[in-house]
């Protein structure tokens, strides 16, 4: 990556405290135009909180975030940012069609009403995620993976320059994962900048140029994406359970990359099996 590209995300000394506990402890993060950055880490390491803080959902207790060179707030060109949250399991209280949900992605950044031609743009975005035929179906009738794709379409409909995704493939069926990887490949080729929270690199690994690894609310690695260990090789492998034996201070025997210690030590102790969430 060239270092001359403009910085789309710039976080300095970020601290976030939620419910009295310090979730993020001094994060510095920069994402430049054209990069595809993966945010990795165990459950509870703070990666979701970090992206939620970056897009203004979670208040910062200390530090600063700049998006597109503007401090977090009304001056940010919000239309250039697309955010895909982790899929919420509980359905909303009201029926709503896929196209209604996607259309809400056209609002914001000073726009309170749908622009002209919103139907076409909504249809295009749904087509991009392979759901053109489900536009008028209630989202409650879609599978989990399809619901996730609706949320991705909602972020893409505004044609963002920067896409921030929070575990887009967790608990998603295989077909949706593959469709997702294809869509992302096309968009990245067109110059989209991506910051994506992942539990493992998985099907997206060919795209990812840089990985940031969080542990206990701090960045422990920022650089080349760590390779999966030999036992976990394969693009389709779902790394759900890092079962490396914890030998106290002894060497970790599982992953065989130089990054293994920053990634996996201590994970085996007290981690809970990861479900679809």
């Amino acid at each position: 990556m060239t270092t001359t590209a403009p910085e789309l995300v710039a976080a300095h000394g970020l601290h976030v405290t939620l419910g009295g506990s310090e979730i993020l402890r001094g994060i510095d993060l920069s994402v430049r135009a054209g990069e595809v950055v993966a945010l990795l880490g165990a459950n509870g390491s703070g990666k979701s909180t970090l992206v939620r803080a970056l897009v203004g959902i979670v208040p910062l207790s200390q530090g600063s975030v700049e998006l597109f060179d503007a401090p977090l707030g009304p001056r940010v060109p919000w239309q250039r940012l697309g955010y895909v949250p982790q899929r919420v399991a509980a359905p909303s209280g009201m029926p709503s069609t896929a196209s209604e949900v996607v259309a809400s992605g056209l609002l914001g950044g000073g726009r309170l009403r749908l622009p002209r031609g919103w139907r076409e743009r909504t249809a295009d975005a749904l087509d991009l995620v392979g759901l053109a035929d489900r536009a008028d179906d209630s989202t409650a009738e879609l599978s989990g993976g399809q619901q996730q794709r609706v949320l991705i379409a909602r972020a893409l409909v505004r044609r963002p320059d920067l896409l921030v995704l929070d575990e887009p493939v967790a608990g998603v069926d295989k077909q949706s994962q593959e469709t997702f990887a294809e869509t992302m490949t096309r968009l990245v080729d067109d110059g989209l900048t991506v910051l994506v929270v992942l539990h493992e690199l998985g099907a997206l690994s060919p795209l990812i140029g840089r990985a940031v690894v969080l542990r206990h609310g701090r960045v422990v690695h920022d650089g080349a994406p760590p390779r999966a260990s030999s036992t976990h090789a394969g693009a389709t492998h779902q790394h759900l359970h890092p079962h490396e034996p914890d030998d106290g201070d002894g060497p970790v025997t599982g992953p065989s990359t130089g990054l293994s210690d920053t990634l996996y030590r201590g994970l085996a102790a007290g981690h809970t099996p990861r479900n679809a969430s």
Partner: protein, 321 residues
């Protein structure tokens, strides 16, 4: 023939004309606001605001009595509007802080509202009985100036509720996404709260403060049984609202029963009827049978792997150590 003359008599009665216009406006606007409340799982917000509005009624009465205004309840409705708006904004700000404490704060507001109303009306020289017409509605006493206020407030409610439909949908559907899209989330939330407060005070005359919420929520519950889109839900709910309000009110022209209670019972009967008939048209719509379990691999290896459901590489996997 008698039916026509009876209907003509009803429609030419100026008292009934005013009442019908009020019922029509309330029937349209209450479900529009109710749609957003149901969507954000705040179905009981209308009730909370209604309780607070009661204190406003009593406060208006007290101020009116102190100032020597001629009909001593002339300031009751304006008092209700002010108290309801303030109460709704307070509830919204408390809700923003966090859910658990918000629940408790809502309860405090409910009981404070009723108790405050009864206490203040006593100080104003009235009795708790004076509050009955506000608690249960008094559409037969709608005056021309009441009607003007109803028209203006309903216009505001419909303008905000329909004009800002997309933005209010976004905020009510997924507040976090709305925040990340750069929508003014707090202002929109307060807009919903204020519009709900105005609806409560508008509907106060028709169904009474204790039943206001039913008019906002029950038509939406009926519509939800029939629709799959948000827009259609809102339209159907408004149609249901208008039909039950006008029919319920007309019924009380010939029968001496409470209009508010009749309207609400009619709405709930509609809900039961639609719920009972729903299977009839639902089975015509083919539903895709799908496995509710997510299609992700597990950590165990079995000899009998179901075909097509596992993408796990076999052999050499030490994961299950």
């Amino acid at each position: 023939m008698t039916l026509f003359s009876e209907l003509a008599a009803m429609l030419t009665d100026p008292l009934m004309q005013r009442a019908l216009v009020a019922a029509l406006l309330v029937g349209v606007s209450a479900p529009v606001v109710g749609t957003y409340l149901v969507q954000r799982k705040l179905s009981l917000l209308g009730d909370g605001i209604g309780h607070v509005a009661l204190t406003g009624v009593a406060l208006g009465w007290l101020v009116g009595a102190a100032m020597g205004v001629v009909p001593n309840d002339a300031l009751a409705v304006p008092g209700a509007v002010v108290a309801a708006v303030l109460g709704a904004v307070a509830i919204e700000l408390v809700r923003e802080r966090g859910r658990t404490s918000g629940d408790l704060a809502l309860a405090l507001l409910f009981y404070g509202g009723i108790a405050g109303g009864v206490l203040l009306i006593g100080i104003a020289g009235g009795s708790a009985g004076s509050l009955m017409q506000y608690l249960f509605g008094s559409i037969s006493t709608v005056t021309s100036s009441d009607l003007v206020l109803t028209v203006v407030l309903s216009a505001v409610v419909l303008l905000v509720g329909i004009g800002l439909r997309a933005a209010l949908f976004s905020v009510s559907h997924d507040e976090e996404f709305a925040r990340a899209s750069g929508l003014p989330v707090r202002s929109l939330n307060i807009a919903v709260a204020v519009v709900a407060a105005l609806t409560v005070t508008v509907s106060m005359r028709v169904v009474g403060l204790l039943l206001v919420s039913a008019l906002m929520i029950v038509p939406v519950a009926v519509a939800q049984l029939m629709t799959r889109s948000f827009r259609r839900t809102m339209v159907v709910a408004s149609v249901v609202g208008v039909v039950v309000c006008v029919l319920g009110l007309s019924y009380t022209y010939w029968n001496n029963v409470s209009p508010g209670a009749t309207i609400v019972v009619l709405a709930i009967l509609t809900y039961l009827l639609v719920a009972a008939l729903r299977p009839l048209w639902l089975h015509r719509r083919p539903r895709v049978a799908r496995d509710p379990h997510p299609d992700i691999p597990d950590d165990v290896e079995l000899d009998l792997v179901p075909t097509g459901t596992s993408n796990r590489t076999t052999g050499g996997d030490t994961c299950s150590a």
